[in-house]
Amino acid sequence: MNPEALTLEVRPRSPWEAMDLSVRLCMQHWRILLSGWLVTVLPIFVIISMLLLETHPFWAFILVWYLKPLYDRVPLFILSRLIFSEPLNWRDVLKAVPGFFQTGLLSSLTLYRLDMGRAFALPTVQLEGLRGKQRTRRMSALRRGAKNREVVLFVLCIHLESFLSWGLLGMVLILLPTDLALKGFELVQVNDESPLWVNALSMMMYFLAMMVMEILYVAGGFMLYLNRRTILEGWDIELTFRRLQRKYQQKHSRQKNRLSAARAAAAVILLCLILPLGISEPLNAAEVPYDDLRYELILPPLAEQKTEPGKSTEVIQAVMQEPVFNRYKTISQLKYTGDTAKQKKSDDYSDFIRSIAKFFEMIGQVLARLFEAGLWILLLILVLLIIKYWSRLKIAFNGFKKTSTADKRPETLFGLDIREQSLPDDVRAEALKLIQSRQYRAALALLYRASLAYLVRHHALELQPGATEGDCVQVVQQHLSSKQQISYFIELTRAWQLTAYAHRTLPEAQLKKLVTDGAVFYEYLKPESDNRSDEPEGYGHG
């Protein structure tokens, strides 16, 4: 056993988080929890059912319910081992069963049977072995400031248990043939007259639901308990301090009897769990004045803004004396004065009520008319709006005819300016010039921009302003008919991507080939106007 083997993150949590953690814990170890439960609790169920279910079904259920504290010991035993990742199987659970009877079972079944914080108190009894006054003192120390979350847990679990058992029962009944199921639904209230199979079914479902919920409930209580002790005793701090201690011992004393500081530490941790440590009167943190509390660390003092504490009352009173506030008003209201008055007036009164009701109903009818009229008007307005904005909405209805996309053409794609004005007259010559002066990147940028400009202009390709290179290729593949052009464009794109993004230098021959192959693309490209910028705005020189 080793504190490092603790499978939980120890830190102070809110009670809700502690409960959530317990669910995670159970789900992580569901195998051993279920098998432990089955080998110990299932036999009890079977015995009780065999003895009582046929003759006194009601008492069978009561007894099964009553023995819950007995079953609780099983999951708690397993969990207390599991959190130290101690290997455990169902045989160990069986072996531990006799020990459960020495854990204050009698008081759990009598005095504390209806205690709503059963699972929360159980660790003190079962793991710490406290009895009587000691136990009471301990529990009151643990419960102080804990806001009774263990009771909330109890209430939630009891509801979940009943929902679960009813849900399971309902599911089974739905799966049965209809006539049987209908009978089942009628008879499902457990009483002495219901047939045995219905009772047995109910018992089975109750067992399943209880199995799930009791395990979760005990785990929840256990986690709440651990969390309380972490808060009150600083377990997380203890853990690091112990490690610090061990590190120190290993370093300095190097003694042979390394009875393994780890083991010693672990033993003390377990002792923590088993022995009560003095939790006396934890100081109330809330007693520290608010102003000092927050941002003491962080905020520069705001003292200059505050009035002195004693003076506030005077200030308030002074303000209240001002005419704005110092105003009185008489408000009269009806008050119930007794039966006699009411009886006298009852006739008038009911008449009055009736007329009021009629009045309201009339208002209702008027409102209904208005409402209907409103709806119709709304519809009318909607239609009118559609008609009015038809030209704008028409974009949405463009299935019939493709309008010119000229005005929608993007001017830049991925940062490249593809307006024709920005291109030189003779793209190919310009590109060759650039290649010769070893500005490969600029050359490719030019080619690529030119081809895009061509595609947008001559093929009216709909490239969205946010399109990527890949999108362009896709669109080209769908819209261009010439295979040669498509493959050229793909090749060009790849070359561009390699140069621009992968920073590779392509062989000159390949670039020249791109220039010559692209004849189709660039020859059609004639600038529309003369006012063009000579240089493509600095792109391609990166």
């Binding site: 660390l297 962080i298 974009i395 991925f414 940062g415």
Partner: protein, 378 residues
């Protein structure tokens, strides 16, 4: 640098970010801040909370000029530093909470297509909804088959074997239906004595839309729920229609239902389609993991359901205020019904076909950051 110095240096930035986050998430707080600052100028104003104190400590022009994204990134960096330097857990916690708030404020859903809710709604109905339906048209065909198939079959079967109606409906509900559509009845299409148009409007919204929603949701059970609901509703409606036609109540029944049928039946079929898509993504996830397939299909189906809800409301409106009037003759009602069917079909067939279907799917919401991405630089 020690912790105290670190705090001293950056305290103002953190306060500023906190104020900015609050104002990003709650725009009304800006006005409140202004009023407080105004009050502050007047003497004797006592801040009511710590938050107020913080605001008042900050110079107003600092808040006005602050660059939220830059500040956010900077505080992220502070958090990483504080963690790396192992400052006090409380400080780390404070910064972490601050970053979490700012993260939420920064990446909160924003309507991209214009900033108002109205433009988002217009966008949804002129673009997203019809396009989504078109893309998922196969599911619509399937659910239509499952819905209209039994419906038509039932109508036809009952013409020849009238007693079949009792296989679906109980005798009580059959007689109820007969009473509702009896040509001599006072209110056609309604139970005798039940309320006025507006009451029925509420009832149709409440009842029909709930059914639609449930049809969709139960699709999560491997599609079985949607399948069952579609079949059941198809049989049910078919039985009623078939029975009333067979009785010779055609003149009252068909004009009544024809008006709202376009919206209502289509909406049911669409709910079923969305549910089936959801369920089948678990059964046949394709190349994705089952969970991923579910996530993807759920995102699409819920868009359909958003449109379906409105379709149900429209159907309720027509059913309550148009179908029920007896002033209008059957001929007009048939014509309007046919027009509405055309409208619905046309809507799904043509609206939103701006460009080829392969372009970027229209996303309703995108994180604000999308807009802030810089131009790509080489």
């Amino acid at each position: 640098m020690n912790q105290a110095r670190f705090i001293e240096l950056h305290e103002q930035q953190w306060l500023l970010l906190e104020v900015l986050c609050n104002e990003q998430l709650h725009p009304d707080k800006i006005a409140r801040r202004h009023s407080r600052q105004a009050k502050r100028k007047a003497k004797h104003y006592q801040p009511k909370s710590l938050y107020e104190e913080q605001i008042l400590v900050l110079p107003p022009e600092l808040i006005e000029q602050a660059d939220f994204p830059a500040l956010y990134r900077e505080v992220c960096q502070h958090l990483s530093l504080a963690e790396a330097r192992r400052y006090s857990p409380y400080l780390i916690e404070r910064l972490s909470i601050l970053v979490e708030q700012a993260h939420q404020a920064f990446y909160r859903p924003v309507h991209v297509y214009g900033d108002s809710a109205l433009s988002a709604i217009i966008r949804f109905f002129t673009w997203t909804f019809p396009r989504t339906v078109r893309r998922e048209i196969n599911w619509l065909w399937l659910s239509s088959l499952l819905f209209y198939g039994p419906l038509l079959a039932m109508i036809i079967v009952i013409q020849f074997r009238p007693e079949f109606v009792y296989s679906v409906l109980s005798p009580d509900s059959v007689s109820g239906m007969e009473a509702m559509y009896d040509p001599q009845a006072e209110h056609i299409g309604r139970e005798r004595g039940s309320g006025s148009d507006s009451k029925m409007f509420g009832f149709y919204i409440f009842n029909n839309t709930s059914i639609g929603f449930r049809t969709f949701a139960s699709g999560l059970l491997l599609g079985i729920g949607s399948l069952f609901t579609l079949l059941f509703n198809g049989l049910h409606i078919g039985a009623v229609a078939g029975h009333l036609t067979h009785l010779g109540y055609s003149d009252t029944f068909w004009p009544f239902v024809v008006g709202h049928s376009a919206f209502e039946l289509t909406a049911i079929a669409l709910s079923g389609a969305a549910g089936l898509k959801l369920g089948f993504s678990l059964l046949m996830p394709g190349r994705k993991s089952r969970y991923q397939a579910l996530l993807d299909s759920a995102k699409i189906s819920v868009r359909i359901m958003g449109g379906v809800a409105i379709m149900f409301v429209m159907a309720a409106f027509i059913e309550a205020y148009w179908s029920s009037t007896q002033l209008i003759d059957a001929q007009t009602k048939y014509t309007v019904g046919a027009l509405l069917w055309l409208l619905v079909t046309g809507y799904f067939a043509f609206v939103g076909r701006r460009s080829d279907e392969s372009s970027n799917p229209a996303l309703e919401m995108e994180p604000q950051a999308e807009r802030l991405t810089d131009k790509r630089e080489f």
